[in-house]
């Protein structure tokens, strides 16, 4: 997996709460058997509206998504993370994320950063004032920088390390095969 360190890019504001994974990637795109090529399915129904944020020229190259609370709720479909990544979105900023979606992002080298709602409000205001606004997400320093100021986000130390180093966690776990075998034998 590619390490995630620092990312500077356009932040697209998606001003809706409780965006569910059915919206991020509708069911018809779940019939694929590969992880790639989901870009076209991203927000498929909403993208039929020419005014939808990701259709606007300023945001076609967005690397960061600015969102509202409980982003990614609903189904466990990792296709939601895959589709965002395929579009080019590698970091997300919101007041909160649904658990499974949050987890899925890390597995794909993407950073979901949770900030207090008031700070997310300020970022939305900045994005409205300046379409195509760029932000810098610095994972090592746990900060988000932009014209609206600098904000610090919290992240679990282990998840941070995995992302910074781009670790393959299955390889890591397999190093503990002896412990797993011992556990299995002790339970017989």
């Amino acid at each position: 997996m590619k390490p995630f360190t620092t990312l500077t890019g356009v932040a697209a504001p998606l001003d809706r709460a409780n965006v569910d994974t059915d919206q991020i990637i509708p069911k018809q795109f779940l019939k694929r058997i590969v992880r790639s090529g989901l870009r076209d399915g991203l927000f498929f129904d909403w993208r039929r509206d020419p005014a939808f944020v990701l259709n606007q020229p300023a945001y076609r190259q967005a690397r960061i998504l600015l969102a509202r609370e409980t982003f990614g709720c609903g189904s466990s479909r990792e296709h939601a993370a895959w589709a965002l990544k395929d579009f080019g979105i590698l970091a997300l900023i919101a007041p909160s994320f649904a658990d499974i979606f949050y987890n899925n992002c890390f597995k794909n080298g993407m950073l979901p950063a949770a900030l207090p709602a008031a700070q997310v409000d300020r970022l939305f205001a900045a994005a409205a004032a300046q379409p195509g606004l760029e932000l810098t997400v610095d994972l090592a320093g746990q900060t988000i920088r932009g014209p609206a100021g600098e904000f610090r986000f919290e992240i679990d130390a282990y998840r941070k390390q995995c992302l910074l180093e781009g670790l393959d966690d299955i390889a890591l776990t397999l190093q503990h095969a002896a412990a797993i075998t011992a556990f299995e034998q002790a339970r017989r």
């Binding site: 189904s75 987890n103 776990t173 503990h176 556990f183």
Partner: protein, 467 residues
């Protein structure tokens, strides 16, 4: 120190604990279906890895499958491919698969408990968010993404930080005509779709104890709709009675021994939860969702809310968007909402008791003109049991379609779909935009409420019907 049920199950499954990282947690049962697994098997192959414990892995076909009479010819080439790939992966790895020819095929969360695969005290995962259903039997069961499916296939473990716990205690008793579905919808309406994020819910209290095992599954199923990854209920005599004689449950003396262990699995008196909330079950009335998430819900005797009545700007905007999508005006009485479709099915409400509750309302009546109504049993075993009771005739005589088992119109990956603008009373769990078909409008209700709505052509208070 007194411990909660979740802590007890957790501690028994820790393979490795090191400072500064999550625990390595052992998984007792891994359930697999066609939609979230192909990429996991593919990655295993690419990396030359094998499935560590095919004997602890069980697969079914449910999400994509048409509900037409079997044997079916699957016309959708991508669905067919996905089902073929699952069958091949299971053959290669030696994983037991309940395919479309199996008399035990069904929705993954229906067949797990039904076959006795799900047992108290287990850790259970599946690449599906409604894995929380299995918590009804006192298992710690949660949904995972495809990368974690791959991780479990390869290692039978997951790295997990211990979750926070939320006790939802239901005092009192549910009123006449009020079901487990109403109880959980009401709860989500109160705590919100993010209300339990980061927590595992333990449902406690007399109103929970009074529920049958199938009703408990309905409650635990929708834990995810409140943001919790898992929800569970301590095992009791209801649990033991349910499991006795199930295919994969222990039998004979081994069962009695296991049952004693199950009954000892409960939160200790004085155990500390991170949060607790008490709800009076007697407050709960039959519920109907009016919006585009399960927290947007009200009583059947209520009205569609006015977005202006929400104090919070975000909630107001969400309500406006939801009403626009749902084609509803503020102030409309829920009972005045007319329906085009009725769907009785899904892992929330397609077990035998659900079908019995719906059939009791339907018996001797006719589906309203202009309404298309269907029943999709949760599994082949549910279907067979219902047919032995003659429920298929009750539904068919009333004008319902009686179909084969699968996820069906819960998420519309098979041909069962709403057309744009169609309005549906559904016993499933998600009323998200487009969930049941692009442009479709979903109202979540209990099986009895769905059945009554099919007959009346609009929502009705089932308490009056049954009285």
């Amino acid at each position: 120190m007194p411990r909660t049920l979740v802590e007890k199950i957790w501690e028994r499954h820790v393979v490795l604990r090191e400072p500064g990282r999550p625990d390595l947690l052992y998984i007792d049962l891994h359930l697999v279906h066609e939609v979230t697994s192909p990429q996991a098997f593919e990655a295993l192959r690419e990396n030359g890895r094998r499935v560590r414990r095919p004997d602890l892995t069980v697969a079914t076909m449910d999400h994509d499958v048409p509900t037409d009479p079997r044997p079916i010819q699957i016309l959708d080439a991508s669905a067919r491919q996905q089902l073929e790939v699952l069958a091949q992966n299971c053959r290669d790895a030696g994983i037991r698969l309940y395919d479309l020819d199996s008399p035990e095929q069904g929705i993954v969360h229906v067949i797990g408990p039904e076959l006795g695969l799900t047992q108290p005290g287990m850790t259970i995962v599946c690449g599906d968010s409604h894995t929380s259903t299995h918590g009804a039997l006192g298992a710690l069961a949660f949904g995972i993404g495809t990368s974690e499916v791959e991780h479990v296939l390869a290692t039978q473990c997951l790295w997990q930080a211990p979750p926070k716990t939320l006790e939802l205690r239901f005092d009192g008793a549910l009123g006449f005509g009020v079901t487990a579905k109403d109880l959980i919808l009401y709860t989500i309406g109160r705590i919100g779709t993010g209300g339990a994020t980061g927590h595992v819910i333990e449902y406690t209290g007399p109103a929970i104890r009074a529920l049958s095992m199938e009703q408990r599954m309905t409650v635990c199923n929708m834990s995810i709709e409140a943001g919790a990854r898992a929800g569970l209920i301590a095992p009791d005599e209801t649990t033991v009675a349910y499991l006795r004689g199930r295919r994969f449950a222990p039998s004979g003396a081994a069962f009695e021994q296991a049952a004693a262990g199950w009954l000892a699995l409960a939160s200790d008196a004085g155990a500390r939860y991170d949060r607790s909330l008490v709800i009076d079950a007697a407050e709960v009335a039959p519920q109907v969702t009016w919006g585009t998430n399960p927290g947007m819900v009200t009583e059947v005797t209520g009205r569609v809310p006015d977005p202006a009545s929400f104090a919070d700007a975000g909630a107001r905007r969400s309500a406006e968007l939801a009403l626009a999508y749902m084609g509803l005006k503020p102030g409309v009485a829920i009972e005045d909402i007319a329906l085009d479709r009725v769907f009785i099915g899904s892992c929330t409400n397609a077990r035998l008791e659900d079908l019995q509750a719906a059939a009791a309302v339907v018996r001797g009546r006719k589906v309203a003109r202009g309404v298309r109504a269907m029943v999709v049993p949760g599994s082949q075993q549910v279907k067979a049991a219902a047919e032995r009771l003659g429920l298929d005739r009750v539904f068919r005589d009333a004008g319902f379609e009686w179909r084969e088992s699968g996820c069906s119109m819960c998420l519309g990956m098979n041909p069962d779909l709403l057309q744009p603008g169609e309005r549906c009373a559904s016993t499933s769990n998600r009323n998200f935009e487009g969930r049941q078909g692009a442009g479709g409008r979903t109202h979540l209700v209990s099986p009895a409420m769905a059945a009554a709505a099919a007959i009346a052509g609009h929502f009705v208070d089932v308490r009056e019907w049954q009285a």
